[in-house]
Every structure is written in structure tokens, then in C-alpha cells.
Amino acid sequence: MSEIARSLVTIVVQLGVLLTMASLLIWVERRLLALWQDRYGPNRVGPFGLLQVVADMVKIFFKEDWVPPFADKGVFILAPAIVFVTVLASFAVIPIAPGIGVTDLNVGLLFFLAMSSMGTYSVVLAGWASDNKYSLLGGLRASAQMLSYEVFMGLSLMGVVVQAGSFSLRDIVEAQRNLWFCVPQFVGFIIFFIAGIAETHRLPFDLPEAESELIAGFHSEYSGMKFGLFFVGEYLGIALISALTASLFFGGWLGPFLPPLAWFLIKMFFFIGIFVLLRAALPRLRYDQLMSFGWKVMLPLSLLNLVVTGGIVLMRTQR
């Protein structure tokens, strides 16, 4: 009985922390972007502009939550919820610290890959249900981008799995006690990180949803809380990819002096900072450049990585 209670408390606390963190990420991103663009971000509302998030939420709640009369109502309302639900579900398998974590599936990594594939549905359904040519095109582009980059996201993670010998995320973190996987799997780390950026469609891969491209892409018909859900879902996706990179390639909660939770948070926020730095620094990739980069550069590299890793591990175990 206390097991169930403990799990429920962990789930509720994790949900609360995640949702708060996703809203705070809005503030973090705006301040960091401003820092790197030689200006101040929001600094008037509340101390250091922290209440800007509250102001934004009040604004989004008061916007007219309108469903276009020509749109497919059920699917239209469902689409933003899908990405939100899949990302929150993926957070359940991430090992935050030795005692903290909702669950530890022995196929945790496959679960994450499956959930991110489901996230593609939200984009394509949003584009389709809007009954708008531009949204449809934006949705098609976004789903093609997400599909192609998922292929080698999975392949690059296979190198980690081969080295750790298990799909469970906790075992992968434990297997990094001697050496973090970013050193032997450097190519895999780079490929996974780039694929992660494309999955959450952030700059430099955010052509499907950029405001000036194709009239804001697949979410041009969305306003009010549904748009807010897309937005918060995107920030949660950033947090998810950062947390995964920290766990899979940089040792998760392993580290010398500080408590494990502190190390995990430091590593996760470091990668979130890298996401924001990419947004501040790089121009957007054109769609054909994006697709050819994925299929012609990333896929052969990830296959090569997998083959070499498999070969080395096989040689070691033969000896």
C-alpha cells in the first residue's frame, strides 16, 4: 500500500515540478537569448522579470479559444494534447537520482523512442485538422522532418545500448561509472543531440513552425490555450532531450562532491542552455537542406557508428 502511495506522490511531485519548470523555461529562454543578443530580457515585471511568465499565462487564458468552423473539431482539440501527453509520459522513465524516478522499465529507451514517434502524430493531425492549405503543408513538412530524424536518433542510441548492454535507462547510467559515454560514443552523442533538436523542432530546424515561414506552419489556426499547449509541449520536449542527453551520454547523476540530484539538474540545465545558444546563434536551415543533411550525412554516420561500436564490443568479449 505504501508502495502505491509512494509512487503516486512521486508522480504528482514530478508532474508539478515539470509543469513549473516548463513555464520557467519561457523566462530562462528569453533572458538567455537577450544575454547573448546584448540586451536585457524581461526585467520590469516582478524581480528579474519572473512574473512575466504569470503575465503570459494570464494573456493566453484570456485569449479567445476559437475552433475554426471548417475544422475537424475532435482532432483539432486532440492534437496539442498528444505531444503534451507523450512528452510527460517519456519523463516517467528518466532516472533523476538513485532513489528518485517514477519507474524503471527494462525497455526504457525503447519506450522513449516509441513516445517520440507518437509525438509526430500531433503535428500531422494539427496540420490536417486545421483545414487550411498552409497548415497542411507545414504539418507535412514537420512530420517528414520528425520522421526522418527519428530514424537515426534510434540508431545513434543503439551504440549506447550495445556498450551498456541494456535498454533500461538506470542500467545505462550505472554503466557510466568509469567513463561517461560521451567519450567512446562521441559521434553518437552529436547525432543524438542534433536529432533531438530536430524532433522538438527548435532552431536551426524549426522551419515548420517559424513565424515568418508559411504563415506559422501547422499551428497557424491555433490560439489561446491550445497554442499554449503546443508551446509548453515544445519546452517540455527540450527539457526531455536535455535530460536524456545528460543521462545517456554524460553520466546522469554521477559526479564527485554534490548530491546526485544536483548533478542531474546541472547537466540538464547545461544542455538546455546549449539549446538556447543554438537558437541565438544559428540561422534556420531550408527544408531541402534539412532533409538532405539528415539522410545523406547523419544516417551513414549513425550506421557507421553502430557498426564500429558493435565490432569493438565484439572484439573485447571474444578476447
Partner: protein
Amino acid sequence: MISIIRTLWRVFLHTFSGRVTVQYPDEKPYLAPRYRGRIVLSRDPDGEERCVACYLCAVACPVDCIALQATEDEYGRRYPEFFRINFSRCIFCGFCEEACPTYAIQLTPDVEMGEYQRPNLVYEKKHLLINGPGKYSGYNFYRVAGLAIKGKGKGTNENEDSPVDVRSLLP
């Protein structure tokens, strides 16, 4: 790829280069003394208003935002009966300041002129007139011109010749 890493590093170094924002109501930006801001009407060193209502500024204004009417006092000195500038039209070009022969109308480096109601942007002479000489101290038009006003007759200025009697035959 290397250029991307280089870009990321250089953008990261912007962390240390300081912000260029001027936090406006708390800090104000520097405006040079010749900055073309709010228009004023200045006075002589003697305290009389410089404007002789010659209409040159109204003619020079490219958007026709100056309106005035000339009148004379009992000693023959011209002055504007009313002088109105519509600041919602004014483009702050400075042509009126360049056209003025007496250095009366001047542009000052003051830009805080926001109003909530549009008619409040039309400034009358009582809003435009200042008590000092503005940017050009020491210049008095009537000390170099040949007109006769109160306290000065014809031909009494420094470089001025006395009037010639055109009907006399004497040299």
C-alpha cells in the same frame, strides 16, 4: 561544421560584452546640444521677445505646422499676436531655425513631449516662449538692424549711418 562551432563560441562570448540597452525612464540617453528636439521661442538679452513675425519660418516649414499673425506695438516693434505650432505635424527638421533672421525660433534637445489627447499637441505662444536667449546668447536683432523701436532711433546703432536728408542740397 567548424564554422558552426566557431559561431557558437563567438555568440557565447557575448555573455561578457555587456548590454547596450538604455533602461529608459531610469537612465536617459545622451542628446547632443544641437539635437533637433522641442521648438522654443527665445528672448533678447534685454528680455523682449526676439520674434518679429516675419513669417519666414511658416514659409520654410515643409509640413505647414506653424501658424502666426503679425502685429505692432505702439513704438513700431513687430511681434506675433499668436504663434501656434502643431507638434503632431512637426517633423523636427530644423528648417524654421535656419530660416529665422533673429534667432528667435530654436530647436532644443528635449524629446519628452508625450500627450494623451491630440489637441494638447498644438502649442501656443505661451507654451513656446522661454525666458532666456536659448542657444545664441548676446544676439539682439535690433542692435544690428536699422529699424526704429522704443529706446532706439534711426541711425543710432554701432555700424549704422545716420539717415540722409534726400531733399537737402548739402553734401
